[in-house]
């Protein structure tokens, strides 16, 4: 069964982010490394897209370019029609849990991007997101005393608190143990369904991509190109033993060139 989907977003959805002919070449010590090769991608408003590819393929580089931390060597990235040139609070990048500020409490971290709000408004916002990510009772706690999963939820809360249009997540659950990772996927989906932010999520975990995304963008090894975009047409909550789920996942396994045996 063909699982390929045209690159463009379904017509009813407005495009939130578009990547147009983006290539990226890094120069270091006189050697140039070709990381991204002519990437074209559109992400719709409120869509959940996973960038999936082998380690070191350049998917993180693409995400950094979407955030405005890196400029493409050629091509353009547009967010809401404007060309992305620098980081912007409308597009918040979520690192692995090490992105939370260890010198601030849970409250301090969530309120970090809210200094222009009035005190009352800020406190309301903090309380709302503390509750949303389930950190009640830990408001005055420092990250050092939180578990990996809690730190990750804290970082998501800090990102959501500034009310961005888009979240860019770079292997956010990569450092967590497998049970916490499963729980965090459920949490992220719950938050996404409540807030309907556009999400671009980088992972090298095929199951993670198929469990979470509306569309999975399969990238090749370096220099990365888009091999295939797979539409995951299963409603949430997804039954990860259903035939359709297994069919889509196995299709991606084949696409990446892995035998589905250990």
């Amino acid at each position: 069964m063909p699982v390929t989907q045209p690159v463009s977003v379904p017509a009813a959805v407005t495009t939130k982010l578009s990547v147009e002919h983006v290539s990226m070449v890094f120069e270091r010590d006189g050697k140039s490394t070709h990381v991204l090769n002519d990437i074209n991608l559109e992400v719709g408003d409120g869509e959940f897209v996973c960038l999936l590819g082998p380690s070191g393929c350049g998917k993180s580089t693409l995400l950094n370019a979407m955030a405005g931390f890196l400029s493409p060597t050629s091509g353009e990235i547009r967010a809401g029609g404007e060309v992305v040139r620098k980081p912007d609070p409308r597009r918040i990048f979520v690192f692995q849990e090490r992105g939370v500020f260890p010198w601030l409490t849970v409250e301090g971290n969530i309120g970090f991007g809210l200094s222009q709000l009035s005190r009352a408004e800020r406190e309301k916002r903090i309380a709302y997101y503390v509750k949303m990510v389930g950190l009640e009772g830990f408001e005055k706690t420092y990250p050092q005393e939180l578990s990996g999963g809690m730190k990750q939820r804290l970082e998501v809360a800090r990102a959501l608190a500034v009310n961005p249009d888009m979240l860019l997540l770079d292997e956010p659950f990569g450092a967590l143990d497998s049970i916490t990772r499963l729980i965090m996927r459920g949490e992220l989906l719950r938050i996404w369904e409540a807030e309907r932010k556009t999400i671009v999520f980088v992972t090298h975990d095929i199951d993670e991509a198929v469990q979470l995304a509306d569309r999975v963008v399969v990238m090749s090894a370096r220099p990365a190109t888009i091999q295939q975009i797979v539409n995951i047409d299963i409603a949430h909550p997804r039954d990860i033993s259903s035939p359709r789920y297994l069919e889509l996942r196995d299709g991606i396994f084949k696409q990446i060139g892995l035998a589905h045996k250990v």
């Binding site: 955030a67 931390f69 980081p87 912007d88 609070p89 990048f93 992105g99 500020f101 260890p102």
Partner: protein
């Protein structure tokens, strides 16, 4: 007690006291058996300490030394921290200044004594200048490396939330570098306390350093010399312990490892 087991509470107090007591006994008998007429016994030092306290010279000397350290160290903090932060922030500027600093840094402040006297004459200002020199470089170096070691995720996160350059410095780089800066300040304070004693032996006529040299020069009172030396050690320890309490503040605790 082996090295793996956690020492019990009484052991943590008992063994250090025992070691100190043994040292005192060793000192006492070394003086007695060698029959020295010059080096004082612990008992004589204790009497000398009592004499200093009774004549109220000790307190005045302690206060004078501490005031000089406060002035020299304070000036080093006020100038060194902003300079270090700026150099850490602009690596290009650091590359320009670094060679000069690397040459000046290993020079003992003691070597500057003649220069200090030319500039400031014999007096407080020369001593304070020497303390400043001793404390300044460790502070600058700690701030530079503190800022340049801030993980790039923190900088990127700060920029992502729309911080301006000055906000990035005060809200991200400074707090992220603070544990390392505190370590630098603590080292600098230790050096300042070393330098004040040396400076007071030459440039001024008060303070613990002066007390040491004056006790020797006026009548070879080695009981007072050793009493003053012990006082210098105790105050240095108290300064260090007081400073270490800063490392336990909750907003910097993450940067330090504590045994318990």
């Amino acid at each position: 007690m082996n090295s793996l087991s956690e020492p019990r509470k009484w052991e943590r107090i008992f063994w250090p006291i025992l070691a100190s007591a043994l040292l005192l006994v060793l000192w006492h008998y070394s003086v007695a058996w060698s029959g020295t007429k010059v080096f004082p016994s612990p008992r004589e030092v204790e009497k000398g300490m009592g004499e200093l306290l009774r004549h109220h010279v000790l307190w005045r000397d302690i206060v004078d030394s501490l005031l000089r350290v406060a002035a020299g160290f304070g000036a080093a903090v006020l100038l060194g921290v902003p300079l270090g932060l700026a150099l850490g922030w602009y690596p290009a500027a650091n590359q320009v200044v670094n060679p000069v600093m690397q040459i000046l840094r290993p020079i003992s402040p003691i070597a500057w004594i003649p220069v200090a006297i030319i500039f400031f004459g014999v007096g407080d200002r020369a001593a304070i200048f020497l303390i400043f020199l001793g404390a300044f470089f460790p502070i600058v170096v700690a701030c530079i490396s503190g800022v340049s070691n801030v993980p790039s995720v923190f900088r990127r996160a700060g920029r992502n939330f729309g911080l301006t350059a000055p906000q990035l410095l005060t809200k991200v780089l400074l707090p992220a570098a603070l544990p390392q800066i505190l370590i630098g300040l603590r080292i600098a304070l230790g050096i300042a306390w070393l330098v004040v004693v040396a400076a007071e032996m030459i440039a001024v006529d008060s303070g613990l350093g002066y007390l040491v040299i004056d006790s020797r020069n006026s009548g070879k009172r080695y009981d007072l010399v050793v009493a003053a030396i012990l006082m210098i050690g105790v105050i240095g320890l108290v300064l260090d312990l007081a400073f270490r309490r800063l490392e336990k503040l909750r907003s910097v605790r993450w940067g330090f490892r504590f045994e318990s």
